[in-house]
Structures are given as structure tokens and as C-alpha cells.
């Protein structure tokens, strides 16, 4: 009986790998080096909802039905995010990092894996309050075109605003958070003036290359979904995007310490996972 079960599990793992391979070959989205346990959970969730007979049927469906593949793409994206998520991190950015950036004539920031934009608008608000927004260019990228569309809109359901406001206050916000949006009761629309210096674009960290030199890279809660090899590859992109003295911010449970590129960085605010790239000797 047990052997039977082991075989079933083995077959399922093979089918999932084939599905991931099919999506890569047909659409170019490369999930082959994402966390296996994570991918499996998400695919099996979709499988149960789909009503299909087995994972192999999902392969055919993913090849032929673009709506279905969009759905899988969403399932594998995990776009969960918040404004001022981890207020302590934003406090550190405001108090320790922005004063460094202030000394530059022009500031370039890259938000990689920005999801629906909450993190980017949080940055814009802080830059405004510190008087730096006018000389800043923000690139906000994610590989999922549907989520980038949402990010551009900058409209969020009213029921999330309470948490955003609380986070904003905890992070050292200087005004009333309601100064930054207009509401129709159901949703909050962020001010157009916050979008002025932001370019939203699709960019895949796994398959695309460096596109600009920037002073600050913010990539939070994206690398946790990648295996060690892929993490190193992506951190390599950040190394190439940053000059000496450039700053890299990771998520609170992400760590450079075990990366092949660790020697290129010094921890700047270790407990907030903020690193500074060393100057070449």
C-alpha cells in the first residue's frame, strides 16, 4: 500500500515538473528553480479548483487556454503586499538611507518584484516628505503584466487603508495618511502626483538582464521563493546595477550571508537587511 502511495507522489512530481517545463517552453516564464514545495502547493490548489482529472490534463489546458495560464501565473506570483509593510524597515530607510541619497544630485531607485505597487508608493510618499521626490526616478518592475497594470492604477480597496495607515504611522510618517488618497467610499485612489516620477514596467528577474544603474535596489519577499542558485543569479543582477556605495534592501527574512556575492557587500543595517555595495579597491 505504501509503495503505491510513493509511486503516486513520484508521478505527481514528474507531472508538475512537466507542467512547469511546458509553461517555460511556450510562454518563457521560468519557474524551474523556484521552491519546489511552494510550487507544488500552488499547482495542486489550482488543480483542485480546475476540476480536471490529473495534472497532465493541466499541461494541455495551459498550452491551449491562455486564460488558464494567466491564472497559473497569478497563482505562482504571490502578489501579497502592503503599504509600509514592516514599518521598522521604512523607518530605517527614512532615517538612515535617505540622508545618504540626499547628497546625490539625482537619485535612481529600482523596486524589483513590486507586485501591485504598494511598496513603491510607500517609497514615493517618504521621498516627498523628505523633499527628495523631485530629483528621483523610480523604476518599478514585476514579471506579471496583470499585476503591473494594477500597480499603475494605484487604487486599493478601502478596507485595506486602515492597516496601511497604521503601518505609515509606525514607520515615522509625518502627515495624515489620508492626505495621499481620495476615496469614493469603496476604494482609495492614490494621488497622481505620487506617480509622476515612477516608471512601471514588466521585467523578469530570472530571464531578463540589467537595464539601468541605480543607487538603491529594493527587492523584498521575492528571493524567498527562489532556490539558492537562482537567488545568486538574481543578486548578481543587483550587483551589476549598483555602483560602489549603492544600497540593496531585502525582505526581513532574506539574507545575503549565504550568497556567492556576499563579499561584495557590507551590512549597513543588519536587522533590517539593508546592505551597501563595497567600493572597488
Amino acid at each position: 500500500m505504501k509503495r503505491n502511495q510513493d509511486e503516486q507522489l513520484e508521478n505527481q512530481d514528474i507531472e508538475i515538473r512537466l507542467l512547469i517545463e511546458a509553461i517555460f517552453q511556450k510562454y518563457g516564464y521560468d519557474f524551474r528553480n523556484y521552491s519546489q514545495a511552494h510550487i507544488k502547493r500552488r499547482i495542486l490548489n489550482r488543480f483542485v479548483l480546475s476540476g480536471l482529472k490529473n495534472i497532465s490534463e493541466m499541461i494541455h489546458e495551459a498550452l491551449c487556454n491562455h486564460k488558464f495560464v494567466d491564472q497559473i501565473l497569478m497563482d505562482l506570483s504571490i502578489t501579497v503586499t502592503e503599504m509600509f509593510r514592516d514599518p521598522g524597515f521604512y523607518k530605517a530607510l527614512r532615517e538612515e538611507i535617505l540622508p545618504i541619497l540626499q547628497t546625490y544630485p539625482f537619485i535612481k531607485i529600482w523596486h524589483a518584484g513590486c507586485s501591485s505597487g504598494e511598496e513603491v508608493y510607500s517609497m514615493a510618499i517618504m521621498l516627498k516628505e523628505e523633499g527628495l521626490y523631485g530629483k528621483t526616478q523610480i523604476y518599478a518592475t514585476d514579471f506579471n503584466p496583470l499585476i503591473i497594470k494594477q500597480a499603475k492604477e494605484g487604487i486599493y480597496p478601502m478596507n485595506r487603508i486602515k492597516d496601511f495607515t497604521l503601518n505609515y504611522q509606525k514607520s515615522g510618517g509625518k502627515r495624515a495618511f489620508s492626505d495621499y488618497y481620495t476615496s469614493n467610499g469603496e476604494s482609495a485612489r492614490l494621488l497622481e502626483s505620487l506617480k509622476k516620477n515612477i516608471v512601471f514596467a514588466t521585467h523578469n528577474l530570472v530571464t531578463d538582464s540589467v537595464f539601468a544603474e541605480v543607487n538603491l535596489v529594493v527587492c523584498r519577499n521575492v528571493l524567498i521563493y527562489f532556490d539558492r542558485g537562482l537567488q545568486d543569479k538574481v543578486i548578481g543582477l543587483f550587483v551589476d546595477s549598483l555602483p560602489g556605495g549603492g544600497v540593496l534592501c531585502l525582505g526581513s527574512k532574506e539574507n545575503l550571508q549565504f550568497s556567492a556575492h556576499y563579499a561584495q557587500f557590507n551590512p549597513l543595517i543588519a536587522n533590517e537587511k539593508i546592505y551597501i555595495k563595497k567600493y572597488p579597491n
Binding site: 502511495q5 514545495a37 511552494h38 502547493r41 524567498i224 521563493y225 527574512k253 539574507n255
Partner: protein
């Protein structure tokens, strides 16, 4: 026969009342206890994970927060960080994710148990302790299906009994015991050979 252990890891899920339950459980463990313990205790998202300090102070096992990509070591207890799900990969390393809440919880016990069940198969022990919801019962069922050993705290002895009761309804459990006897059983499992 070589002295290879039958079991390789223990996963534990607890919620309301969990801190006291875990303390009692830890106190009952032998000081040389070797199986890695992987624990999800429901905890508020902005908690500083004080649980780790409290359990470490008991000086039974080394207790630490589970880091991403870390491989569980014998004699160490790992606690899921607040606001992240903890998953076990096929190579036994940990993955942390910020996916949506499952059963209103992040970390969720089901997420840990289901992934650990597949990673360890029949070499896993799963334990459900006190709690006020039903998180963990699906995961416990999965552990049982894949040949692991499943233990539930006797609901009559639990600070809050709904989580153990939900687990019993979902699975034919192997042992239904008060906390001190769960500890005794774990100490014995340690010695059990293949």
C-alpha cells in the same frame, strides 16, 4: 541492523494556550533529545517571537527561529517566524513564504504539516496541541496517509480543546495523550530503531 532511527523529525502545531503547553512538553523531554522539532505556534504578525527566549530558557533543547533554506539539525527546535508560512522542501530545507493566510493563520499548521509529510513520509511524527480553531487537522491527516505517526493532545487536558477535537475528527490518531505522556512517548521514539 544498523541503529538508524525510525523517525527523523517531529512537527508540532499549537495555538491558543500553546505557550504553556510547549513549556510543559519541553520540560518532559530528556536532555539528550535528538529529533529535530519543527513548530508552528499561532502568533500575532508583529510579535518579536518571545516564545523562542522562553523555550530556550528551559535549557532543554536549542531553540531558534526557522531560517529560509536552513536544514533541520538533531536536537534543535525550530519555530516558524511570525507572519510567514514555513514549508519543508524535499531535501528537508525550510522555505518561508508570505502567501495568503491559510485557515486565517500565517504561519499555518496545515502548510507546515502537509509539506513536511511529503518530505519525510513515514519518518515523520505530527503532534496537535491546544488551540481554538481547526488549523492542522488536514495536515495531520496527510501525515497519517503517508505513514507517519500522529499524536493529539487529549482534549480534556487541553487549555482550549477545539483544535485537538478537530484533529481527532479528521484522522484516526495513533495516540491521544496528556502533555507529559506525549513527552514520555517522544523520549521513547528516540530510541526506537528501524
Amino acid at each position: 541492523m544498523t541503529g538508524k532511527r525510525r523517525y527523523e523529525a517531529v512537527v508540532i502545531g499549537s495555538s491558543a494556550g500553546g505557550l504553556n503547553a510547549l513549556k510543559t512538553l519541553f520540560m518532559g523531554l530528556d536532555s539528550g533529545f535528538r529529533l529535530p522539532l519543527i513548530i508552528v505556534q499561532h502568533i500575532s504578525p508583529d510579535s518579536d517571537n518571545y516564545l523562542i527566549h522562553i523555550l530556550n530558557d528551559l535549557r532543554k533543547l536549542r531553540v531558534k527561529e526557522a531560517d529560509e533554506k536552513e536544514i533541520p539539525m538533531p536536537g534543535v527546535a525550530y519555530i516558524a517566524p511570525p507572519n510567514y508560512h514555513l514549508l519543508v522542501e524535499p531535501d528537508h530545507s525550510f522555505t518561508l513564504t508570505v502567501d495568503e493566510r491559510v485557515n486565517y493563520a500565517r504561519p499555518s499548521i496545515d502548510v507546515l504539516f502537509e509539506t513536511a509529510a511529503e518530505a519525510y513520509r513515514h519518518k515523520l511524527v505530527g503532534i496537535i496541541l491546544t488551540g481554538a480553531n481547526s488549523d492542522g487537522s488536514k495536515g495531520l491527516k496527510r501525515i497519517k496517509e503517508l505513514g507517519g505517526l500522529v499524536i493529539v493532545q487529549d482534549p480534556d487536558t487541553a487549555e482550549v480543546d477545539s483544535m485537538p477535537r478537530a484533529a481527532i475528527l479528521a484522522t484516526a490518531v495513533d495516540h491521544l495523550l496528556p502533555l507529559d505522556e506525549i513527552a514520555t512517548l517522544l523520549n521513547k521514539l528516540e530510541d526506537e530503531k528501524k
